[in-house]
């Protein structure tokens, strides 16, 4: 004799439940490997201002991420050649110079300075890097001081600026990669 029809689904159900448990047991076997450590790239965590006086003496002012920003001392009524350098110093044994990438992509980059209360004026140096439109990107600048004063110079590294001719940070647009305010004393 055949079995009564409506008992059969129950057997199907147990079969399926056992299958389900088996599937889960199989999944349980997977073990995860340790994640690979990520080598963080393009982090700008060191900025150096190389300030060369007219007598060719050079002073480096270096800011490291997480440390205090150094104060820049300048002489009154003098002129300085200043170049800026960006680094990724995440790995002390392999410091990466990001300035080169900025030069390579001069079209997409611009360095902008804002000066507060200090008697310093900044203009592009004649040997500055220019983009394809012939616009100096302010990697190398000429700083001219007037009377003794103190204040700060704020440096921006701008990525993809809208308008390099802008006279304020807002007018230039783009995203800021680096923004540091160096205290400046003119004596």
């Amino acid at each position: 004799m055949k079995t009564v029809i409506y008992n059969s689904p129950r057997q199907g159900f147990w079969r399926k439940l056992i299958f389900a448990i088996l599937v889960l047991l199989i999944f349980n076997q997977c073990k995860k490997d340790s994640p690979e450590e990520i080598n963080e790239e393009e982090v700008i965590n060191r900025v150096t201002l190389r300030v060369t006086a007219s007598d060719n003496t050079t002073t480096n002012y270096t800011w490291n991420d997480g440390e205090a920003i150094p104060s820049i001392g300048l002489t009154a009524n003098a002129s300085y050649a200043v170049s800026v350098h960006f680094f990724d110093a995440s790995d002390a044994s392999d410091i990466e110079d990001i300035t080169e990438e900025v030069i390579e992509e001069a079209d997409e980059h611009f360095i902008f300075y804002e000066i507060a209360t200090a008697n310093v004026s900044i203009s592009p140096a004649s040997n500055d890097v220019e983009d394809n439109d012939g616009v100096s990107i302010n990697l190398k600048t000429q700083w001219t001081t007037a009377d003794a004063s103190s204040g700060s110079v704020r440096l921006y590294l701008i990525h993809e600026p809208n308008n390099k001719a802008g006279s304020t940070r807002g007018a230039i647009g783009g995203a800021t990669d680096v923004e540091i305010s160096f205290p400046v004393t003119v004596e």
Binding site: N28, P35, T117, G174, A175, I180
Partner: protein, 816 residues
Amino acid sequence: MWRFFQVNRHFLILLLIRQLTFFCLLCLAYHATAQDCNESIFGVVYDLHDNIPLQGVTITLLENDRKVQTTANGTFIFPALCQQGYTLLLEHPDCSPITTKNTQPSSFLKKFYLEHHLNELEEIIITDQGQKKTTKTGIESSLSKEELKRFHSQNLGDALAQLAGVSSIKTGNAIVKPMVHGVTGSRIAIINDGIRLQDHEWGADHAPSIDINGADQVQLIKGATALQFGGDALGGIIQLIPQKYPLSDSLLGSISSGYVHQGKGGYLLTDITKTFTNGTYFGGNTSLKNTGDLKNPNHILSNTGNREQHAKVYFGRNTITQEWRFNYSFFQKEAGILAAAHIGTVGDLARSIESTQPLFEKPWTRSINNPKQSTVHHGLSVRYDRRMTNQAKWDIQYSFQANNRKEFDVRRGEANNRAALDIELLSHDMLFNFRSKQENSLRWQSGLSAQLQDNFVDPNTGVRRLIPDYLRYKFGIYTISEYAPSNNFSAEVGLRFDYDYIDAQKYYRIADWNAREYNDDFAHTIISTGNASNYLTRQIKKFGNFSASAGIKQWLGKQTNAYLNLGFITRSPNPSELFSDGLHHALATIEQGDLRLSQERAIKGVFSLAKKNDRFTYTLSGYYSRVKDYILLQPSEQGFDQARNSAFLMREYTQLDQVNLLGIDADLSISFGKHLAYQATAAWVSAQSTTGEPLIDTPPLNISQEIFFQMFKKRPLSLRLSSQYQARQTQFPDYNFSYTFIENGVLTERIIDISSPPKAFHLMHLSLETRIKNNIEVRLVTENIFDVDYRNYLNRLRYFAGETGRNIRLEFSYIF
């Protein structure tokens, strides 16, 4: 002799069970002895659609014109038949008659299925779809396929925002997350085809990978009632339900194509299903969308283009007593992030907020550049449903989801083509549900669920992982009982327990590790030291979550029901809350998780009144919930990441001792006959911690109204004029910070107001719809008719640009 005995034994059992009269037994005895023919045909007749036994079916034995009628249990018997083939004619006033040929008498129960007349069947399927409730005592609302048609070019979040109590939290225009009763993310569950979607829990700018065009109905269950889907959904449950197909030989389908004036975009949707009378069906749908930059009335929203591709195939067989279904879906989306929102530092954020124009605007383009998001979702599921003769049902379902999310930032050189974030989340789910109906008044439902998740983050991004690699296991068990002694009263009680186990391996920056004093509690989790500045740690988190719900529904007369629901919810922190560690460029914010987070425990009560008749329908609900240890992303004490020279705002996941949410939702519709109707929805919510501080991103009061008008008898033209009002949010926390500008050579410090919500706004929309040649639908929709320039508090990119202006959409659909 043995055979004779067997037959008779079966008879006896059946006759007793089926409550046939003693008279028949006598007849049987008479026939069995008077004739040589002692065989019989006995069976039960079911309604093919819902598997309920059919009473009053007339069965005619055509060979000798004997007639019987089925009993209340749907059973019938023709005793004293000879061993030969008989022809049976089954007739019922509501059903198509069927004739069975060559039916042999036997000792087994035969099952017969009668199908309702085709048009009635369609009707049943349609009303069933429209009114089928998931919970007995919960407040539910839904969007039908017809209503979803109006959102062909939009997102799930946009469509859901039509329902009272749902808002959308946006990151730009293409990334829209639904918010229910003021909460979002892990606090609401999105169920697609029975399976919970897993990919929208990574953070606020991670929208669900779902295409509304694949759904037949979108259902919203407010509050914490539907425990079968999870015990952690404080806000509610959003369910996308696939279509049920009639058991007929037909080909159903449609092709829609539309032009969208905003973004000069277009879309193409197809949908086809072949069904057979034997219940087999197969089909699929696809959608393609492509738009370029959107426009605000005053500026171009650069880099807001969007591309979406979606495809779904399914096949299955529904024989009423059992159904199996296979489903595969694919979803791909590439969405540009507003270029003006790509900022580098807090200073940029300050300048954006002070500017009325976006700081980045380029000529209109269709192309999508960095920053952008690219998501791919694969979903595969197999489901088997079985109805048993004793009115019990069970189903089992396995599903696999693969979710990949890539985020591209504006980067230098080679890296620009590499994703800055690349997460792959694989989820396996196994679900089992059993439903039974003890008597007419008592039902219960129970189930088990198991889930395995594997999250992998590609290390080749060159950027710290926002979320670490982890394995997560979840096991759940639930039971729900319903008691409905009459149509006037029903009650429901549910219990659920979930076990959540997370095994993550994460690198911590040693400086961060020490700053958070993790060494005090988690020193044992350190596995090794990475390249001198990182610890590799293994974090194992175990949570047992208990949830419960209870609800009653009472008929008050005058077509009105009252509903009361109470829920107790436990939600364990998700990996993004525990482990987040990374920079969010759009808001210049560093988000950090907290290993010390514990579970969130909430109670929620929802009281509702609902009236429904042909002319007037309303639902009014009020809710209150009290959440202990509420997890939220808050600015850290300093407000800035000191270690990074104040360039970024710092946000940490923290827990508030207690948060109270209080709100009201209302919807109302009045129908003045077939051609004129009015509809309105309103929602208000207040969310505060016990210290009186409001929560961020709480939806402000919003009111939507719509007038529907249909003219021309011969070729009806439907007109829908709607108004959408969103008030200004007056309750908001103060997350402002100060920033020092250099202006005209002087340092000027100003407070940057990132907290104040934008002004209220009012938008009008108009839609016209008609049919040409019976099977072509034409739709002309104008959104934001008056080209209002506004900003929305619930758009996280509101600091950078306004919302989109007027949008006109023209769509043609061919239905077959």
